[in-house]
Amino acid sequence: MTSPSPLGELAPNVTDDDLYAVDIPHERFAQMRSTPGLLWHPHGDNGFWAVTRHADVREVSKDADTYSSAIGHTNLWDLEADALEARRSLIDSDAPDHTRLRRLVAASFTPKNIRLWDQTVRDITRELLDEFVAASSGDWVGMVAAPLPIRVILTMLGVPLEDADYLVELSNYLVEGTSEQQSIPPEAFGNTTELRLLPFNSPASHALFEYGEKLAELRRRDPQDDIVSMLVQAETDGEELTGSEFKNLFHLLVFAGNETTRTAISHGAVALADHPEQWQRVVADPGLVESATEEVLRWATPVLHMRRTARTNCELAGTSIAAGDKVVMWYASANRDEAMFAAPQNFDVGRVDNEHYSFGGGGPHTCLGAYLARLEIAVLLEQMAERGLGLERLGEPVRLPSNFVRGVVSVDMAIRAT
């Protein structure tokens, strides 16, 4: 392939999954940020424009008319038309479908309504910390980072908590689907659907769809005060939600509701263990919990990139983009942009004006669960600080080899008095 870049320059490879088993390739991104214009990144039999600067990510993110989420796919590779339709969710939609779907669930996630879950989050967090303290050491991901967000989102959705472990298991298999390594066969969970028609190409998506449909059936008969009941109500009210839309929305809420925050809490714990002086600041001054939460989010960058597709010929950072070109926003890079953040390589719990893009760079696709994630992280930090709990890392984190989700599979931690 020839490069359509006016400078004839190609980006260094930042899509190799194995890179991310070590860490984000920060030096490569820094090199790309300092190169004028946009770099063309070969990928598969084509490629994409790599958007790495904070200001450029913002421009793409906010201009949903020019940069479509509904064309091709929001991941690096294109989906065939039937697969895209079968898998289409809030993430892969443009207005007006996106607006309609988003509004169905938006009210449950406004700052005002998220505050209603404050006590639930506190209770779940206290219980998990009690267990971790009692054990004094263990896998932080399995014991705290994974169960905290999944228990919260399942409570909101109306999923019985005894099913939490099953849904965490499904979610773990979905994360595998973002990398090249899938450990389960296509027919797992009784799946008969072609994998390309399932989100993350994973048979676990079939199981999650099936679970969501069963729960919807229960709630149709016996509505409760939960999100699934509200969605099936909308479905019956005005045909606002098709069966496929419900399945994919349920899938998204379960997956995004736990996987991303779990990643943030995992990287946050590692950062606090590796920077004990920063954690001391929070323990000494709980007023820093809010800024520490934002810094954990910036530092973690749970979702590494999202793709858009140019709807029309356009220009970004002086580079001409042709209609149909893939345009990929690298949050992993924007969150370390020297032009935006002072000393971006430093983990600083007191950082001010921390306009990180861990919830996206603005625009209509801004993370639905942003205020829920913030609440969960802030409550965890607050309770750890109140108890004077510090963390010590007992080994290297086992990272997911994925260029999309910056997952931590496990990390052994021990309690350390502060």
């Binding site: 906010k62 207005a95 509004r103 009210a107 700052p111 801004t366």
Partner: protein, 86 residues
């Protein structure tokens, strides 16, 4: 489609902002995705009614210019804009 400043709208740097410098904003109900961001930062000016999902203006929709610029920027859907004077 770009930041408010690029649209020629005033930015805080254009003038010395005083509390008296009130501007009027409006909401495009077609664009609003109901994130509730405006309500959180400017509860005296915006509300999402309990029986709705789209933000609405409270009263005259007036607020100090610098805070208007800020909330226009924060709104994820780009649904808030200045009402042109006159």
């Amino acid at each position: 489609m770009t930041s408010p400043a690029a649209d020629g709208a005033p930015t805080p740097r254009d003038t010395d902002v005083s509390e008296d410098d009130l501007v009027t904003v409006s909401i495009d109900a077609e664009k609003c995705i109901g994130s509730g961001t405006c309500e959180m930062f400017e509860e005296a000016t915006f509300v999402i009614p309990d029986d709705g999902v789209v933000a609405e203006i409270v009263g005259a929709g007036e607020l100090p210019r610098d805070r208007a610029v800020s909330i226009i920027d924060r709104c994820p859907s780009g649904a808030i804009s200045f009402v042109a004077p006159g």
